[in-house]
Amino acid sequence: VRVLLLAVALTLAATEQHFIFNNESEPKTLDPHTMTGIVEARLALAQHEGLVALHPATLAPQPGLAEHWTISADGTVYTFHLRDGLRWSDGTPFTAQDLRASWLRALAPATAAPYAELLDPIVGAQAFREGKGDAAAVGISAPDTRTVIVTLARPCGYFLQLCAFHITFPVPLAAIQAHGERWTQPGNARVMGPFVLDRWLPRERIELVPNPHWHGRAEVRLTRITALPIADQDTSWRLFQQGAIHWMPSIPLAKWDEVRWHPGYYVSPHFATYFYRLNCTRPPFTDARVRRALSLAIDREVLTSQILRAGQVPATWLTPAHGDYRPPTGLATDRDAARRLLAEAGYGPGGAPLRCELLFNTSDAHRQIAEAIASQWKAVLGAEVTLVNREWKMYIADMDRLEYDIARASWVGDFLDPETFVGMWVTGGGNNRTGWSHAGFDALLNEARTERDPARRLERYREAERILVEEQFPIIPLYIYVNQGLLADRVRGWHENVRDEHPFQHLWLAE
């Protein structure tokens, strides 16, 4: 009887367009202005939409809430024309003023939005964000109900990408005023995206249903989305095998040999890099020769072909190639040069032994990689490396306070532009966390940020990145990640892309 019931349930599920996926953990917030993580961003993409949307395969900007836009010749004035008849999910009309108010809310100091600084290219945004300026002075205006004009202080080559990023998504200010932090709860949240929140059972499930007032409602085929917060990948894998979930964006790495033969397994390049930070305020890492020697001594191929094995790309550069951007090639393994540099710096055989600690957060993969690299450093440079394993928050705190020698790190690009990888190494940047500072790099970065010619802009970023990975080595890039997941064969409308971002409005389930 139970088998029969299961069969009936499966048949029902087959005819119903109910997409169930593992979102991997409980979102810390559903407020698009204060969220920072991938788990949260997946849900934001369902509930919200920006002026610009990204093409599901190429991630190129295409019309979102704005049906078209113009950019002034000097690249500083963006004029967005909203679609006709836009409505919030409760049916009330959406106006350009709503959008302006939302952006000001994202910037307001009281919101404490972690990503607000991304909007700094806008005139007056930084001053207002830091509590030194007036909202009225921020370069966002809404001359009529369907036009938004954004004035930038400097050209910004990735501004359209930002208009598709969650920090710029419109939020319902009346609901926020009425409900405070709880505005994101079901029933409170008026949204502008393809789906609305139906149920939110913390650490159990989040359910979304189509937004009847979304401008593209006619094309939305899913009737329900369920996001499960399953942290245990083994559990998720069993549920996938049983047909209870359609998508899991990660796989249990310990079962890789089993999982990769499943027809639903997919692997694709990711916009993310694995690297080591070097504490440039601590001897011997104050010496660029030592840092360079450490990088030259590593054979990255060993990591990707023997430990990781899923198609990760060994990398001596930081930014994954994308669009028209080609990162510098970095420096290939050269053990002799590594030994020579280290000796010049006064370490290694004949000098002081190189002793240091290698910090990583708890994970089997991080440990294996650290062991492999430490043994290479030992073999090539005679370095004595102690592995230091820390729980996540302690690892973050140590890195933040520069209490480490070498620390494992990774970075996922927020939007498709080298800025998201290269920009973080600016002197004093919050994500720099190496204490490294270089006037030449800062100058190039500044040029890149204000350059209007697209090709020259990318060239500046490339030059800046070259300083990072060919001269100065505040970081040692190791490899470019891949996305590995499992997708049920019934899922249609799926487009592979480097952000592993899959807007639900394009998905549907075949019979």
């Binding site: 404490a112 650490r203 559990t235 095998q241 729980e391 919050g430």
Partner: protein, 303 residues
């Protein structure tokens, strides 16, 4: 006995206050805070979030405020989108209570049943049960759970491998929780039954001419319950507040995961609330176990 209960109950709030203070101090002593993330927050943003949570105040003031709002149930969780600690507990505790109580009942019936069967039929059955319960005690739940899910879920297809909502979802996690507890109960009760076989009052009962079955049921079982009850006090508190392993393996939305996550997230307030909740349950279950022991064994005097 009433004075004893009264004294234990009057002492409880004091114990809980000390517990809350220790949790308060330990949570803040651990490196890393609720707003430390991989993506560093701009200093102003971090300061604003710390201020909103009251974490920028002097420690004594923080202590007073958190204790006071914990007592009134208005203590906010730092990481749950405006929910209070009380709301988090209200959302999760019923699930854990339900699952834990089911597992406890199953374990009690199965454990005592096995002990009685072993005592009644010594020999092969008894030895088999001894070996089986030893294995069940030794195998951790993170092995039992996945094996059950594989066997009954994936291979046989009888039960869902994870999830929560229906009766079919209850079976695997309840079994996983119950198996080691049942085995402990069986071993404790079987050992105690063996000891009672030669107790004076049992010999007297036999001398009166009572049959083996009646002696077992009326005189020996009651005494054999004493160590089981002593074990059940803390075991019940543990089962009722949820097991993080079972919740993770079967995706049960219970309180156990909150214990771990609140500590990992550095949600100081939730850590404190859950610690106090667990302490209160432990006090209650231990008191209940002590009283039950006194009832089961007339020789025990509570003072």
């Amino acid at each position: 006995m009433n004075a004893y209960i009264l004294r234990r109950l009057l002492l409880a709030p004091l114990v809980l206050l000390v517990l809350a203070t220790v949790a308060f101090a330990l949570a803040r002593a651990v490196p890393g805070g609720p707003y430390d993330e991989e993506r560093a927050l701009p200093p102003a943003v971090r300061a604003a979030q710390m201020a909103r949570a009251g974490l920028d105040r002097p420690l004594p003031e923080q202590w007073l405020r958190t204790i006071a709002s914990l007592a009134t149930g208005s203590l906010p969780s730092l990481k749950s989108e405006g929910l209070t600690v009380a709301e988090v507990v209200r959302g999760k505790l019923p699930t854990s209570l339900f699952l834990g109580a089911t597992a406890l009942a199953v374990a009690l019936v199965a454990g005592l049943g096995a002990a009685l069967a072993g005592a009644h039929r010594s020999g092969l059955v008894d030895r088999g049960l001894a070996a089986g319960t030893m294995a069940a005690v030794a195998i951790p739940t993170f092995v039992i759970g996945p094996v059950l899910a594989l066997a009954l879920g994936l291979w046989l297809g009888w039960l869902p491998v994870a999830g929560w909502g229906g009766f079919q979802h209850l079976l695997l996690p309840a079994a996983t929780l119950a198996i080691p507890v049942a085995a402990r109960i069986a071993r404790l009760a079987r050992g105690a039954l063996a000891e009672t076989a030669h107790a004076d009052h049992v010999r007297t009962a036999r001398a009166k001419g009572l049959g083996d079955g009646l002696v077992l049921w009326r005189h020996r079982l009651r005494l054999a319950l004493v160590p089981v009850l002593a074990f059940l006090g803390p075991a019940a508190a543990y089962l009722l507040t949820g097991s993080v392993v079972v919740e993770q393996v079967f995706q049960v939305p219970g309180l156990g995961t909150e214990f771990i996550q609140s500590a990992l997230n550095r949600d100081h307030n939730l850590v404190m609330g859950l610690t106090v909740l667990y302490g209160a349950l432990l006090i209650a279950c231990n008191l209940a176990a002590d009283l039950a022991v006194a009832v089961a064994d007339p020789r025990v005097r509570l003072a």
